[in-house]
């Protein structure tokens, strides 16, 4: 595996071929090892995430991709290794604390609040942006009112952006799968995240839905400059969307670089075609 041009890119960032500005490293994962009892889910993996880029994590089933995402979002705490975020080493944290740092995520098997409307679901993404006291909120008074209106404006912007205006008031439990995925993305975006984590955003979708979702991910990145980390199985989608790709297999990192570099990496080809490990 050869080190790549992009891994050696200047610290302050660079401009992509399609003219997007990629910034400095925002998150640096160093020598992460995660074990469940005797099972090693992630073995000594290091990689970084740059401001404004779309970073994909790929690999065969059971490679440890979701575990990696869970480490970033604080759902799992690795036994070894360091997570550096915006220049500071992150101590062991609970998931809600990580979320408050500005790391939003979606889940592989959709985790939405089924009993609430689409609007209310997305509004929960704004919880950490709400600062006024609960008494003034209950009485709908002064600062609380202004804040709620500002939150609603932001949420409406996202609803417009993701083209879900017509289901605004629908309880989420009634929506079809593809739309639920989109609402989950909307909720994550409502938090105005520093890093957006997407765990298989296109799993189980048909071609048309996949195209829509790809467009949204690109547009979000374009419009808000959102740094995005995504796990995806559809190779075509991954290669089209991402700036850089990490490839995992059996908990190890076997490739890291631009889509083209990864595509031509022998170890990656072996992993996907199933060559015997010797």
């Amino acid at each position: 595996m050869s080190d790549t041009m992009l891994l050696d890119a200047p610290a302050e960032g660079y401009v992509t071929a399609d003219g997007r500005q990629i910034g400095p490293v925002v998150m640096d994962l160093k020598n992460i090892t995660l074990r469940f009892g005797g099972v090693v889910a992630i073995k000594d993996i290091s990689f970084d995430i740059r401001q404004g880029e779309i970073r994909a994590i790929i690999g065969p089933n059971g490679a440890g991709k979701s575990s990696m995402l869970n480490v970033i979002s604080g759902f799992y705490v690795p036994q070894e290794g360091e997570v550096w975020f915006k220049g500071y080493r992150r101590g062991p944290m609970r998931p809600y604390q990580v979320a408050r740092l500005g790391i939003a995520r979606t889940f592989q098997n959709i985790a939405l609040f089924d009993g609430m409307s689409v609007l209310d679901n997305i509004m929960t993404g704004r919880l950490n942006k709400t600062k006024s006291g609960f008494l003034s909120q209950a009485l709908w008074w002064g600062p609380a009112e202004r804040e709620e209106i500002a939150n609603r404006e932001q949420v409406e912007k996202i609803i417009d952006f993701l083209e879900i205006q017509n289901i605004r008031k629908t309880p989420v439990g009634r929506l079809p799968y593809g739309l639920k995925k989109r609402v989950e993305l909307a909720r994550a975006l409502a938090a105005e995240p520093q890093i957006l984590l997407l765990d298989e955003p296109m799993a189980g979708m048909n071609v048309e839905e996949k195209e829509d979702m790809s467009r949204f991910i690109l547009d979000v990145n374009d419009e808000f400059g959102t740094t995005t980390v995504l796990i995806e199985h559809d190779m075509g989608v991954v290669m089209d969307l991402s700036d850089r790709v990490v490839v995992m297999d059996y908990g190890r990192k076997i490739g890291d670089g631009t889509p083209d570099e990864v595509r031509n990496n022998q170890e990656v080809i072996d992993a996907y075609l199933g060559v015997a490990h010797d």
Partner: protein
């Protein structure tokens, strides 16, 4: 005509009793909605709150019996009386501390367990709190007077006597209970619908993982929910304690809340209210009709009395057969 007027009076009294049932049922619904736990200890929580309130008001020394037995002392009282308002605030504080302890010592260790295990934990909690209440404040029946008006309302009696020629007997305490319950429900609804914490509470009720991912601390929400349930228990404890004295059978009012919940649905605050009213009115009217020689006597040729003991449960049983989710509960649909 007299029967009709008397029936109306029974109906109104039934509504007011229903409000008292609703007060207890509300505490159950709150915790069930937010954590999916059926809190068996809710009735005991009301008892504990009432005991603590009386204890604080009368300046009782907590654990007095225990201390006296261990050290041969004879302390009973601090010798002061605390005004009801402060005592209520202090008791509310005690309920919050209790909520924190419950979260730290019990719930935290059971995260991710089956609901039935959490349910068993609340049974344990109920017995523990009952024992704690006994040891802390003593087992004798106490009167509770926080200054709520009691006795038959003269105003209502005279007004109705002037209008219909028949004076309604309505307890002033029941009227106050209704007003307070209405305020409490309004406050709860405003809290859960319009505040950040309320929104977070509904989110936790729905999906723990998703709640974590938007930055909600489960711990904080559980402490908050149990504090609110403790506060509702305090209100219920005050009402029931004023009405029938603070005694250990108070924890059994939780049993009356069960049929209320089966009728109204475990997940609905309006359900708890309507369920309580239906049971209250239902059992009073049923008793009135079935025990009256003029009504049941002339229709069926016999009368029965003391139906209030079982009417609510039979009604709940019927609901379980025909509408298990209750009137307002969420229908459980399993997707396969």
């Amino acid at each position: 005509m007299d029967q009709l007027l008397y029936g109306t009076e029974v109906l109104i009294n039934g509504l007011m009793t229903g409000v008292m049932y609703s007060l207890v049922a509300l505490g159950f619904v709150l915790i069930y909605k937010a954590s999916g736990v059926f809190n068996y200890a809710q009735g005991v929580l009301a008892l504990f709150a009432a005991l603590t309130l009386v204890g604080i008001m009368e300046g009782q020394v907590p654990f007095a019996h225990l201390i006296n037995a261990m050290f041969g002392t004879h302390i009973e009282n601090f010798g002061w009386n605390i005004p009801a308002v402060f005592a209520i605030l202090l008791t509310a504080g005690v309920m919050v501390v209790l909520a924190i302890l419950i979260e730290k010592l019990v719930l935290q260790h059971l995260v991710g367990q089956e609901p039935i295990i959490l349910f068993m934990a609340t049974i344990g909690l109920a017995y523990f709190l009952e024992g704690l209440g006994d040891v802390m404040w003593g087992a004798d029946i106490k009167t509770l007077d926080v200054g709520l008006p009691q006795g038959i309302s003269d105003v209502v009696e005279q007004t109705t006597a002037n209008w219909f020629g028949y004076g309604f007997f309505i307890d002033r305490l029941d009227i106050w209970a209704t007003i307070i319950a209405a305020l409490l429900v309004a406050a709860l609804v405003a809290f859960s619908q319009y505040t950040k914490q309320g929104r977070a509470m509904r989110a936790v009720a729905d999906d723990h993982q998703a709640a974590l991912s938007v930055g909600i601390s489960l711990q904080f929400i559980w402490i908050m929910v149990w504090s609110i349930a403790g506060f509702v228990a305090l209100v219920a404890g005050i009402m029931w304690g004023t009405k029938s004295g603070v005694q250990f059978s108070l924890s059994l009012i939780a049993l009356k809340a069960l049929p209320v919940l089966m009728l109204g649905g475990f997940t609905s605050i309006p359900g708890a209210i309507v369920g309580g009213l239906i049971i209250g009115v239902g059992e009073k009217l049923f008793e009135f009709i079935m025990s009256s020689p003029d009504l049941a006597g002339s229709w069926f040729g016999f009368t029965i009395s003391a139906t209030e003991n079982w009417f609510a449960y039979v009604l709940a049983l019927l609901f379980l057969v025909f509408r298990p989710q209750g009137l307002f509960g969420e229908r459980i649909i399993e997707r396969v």
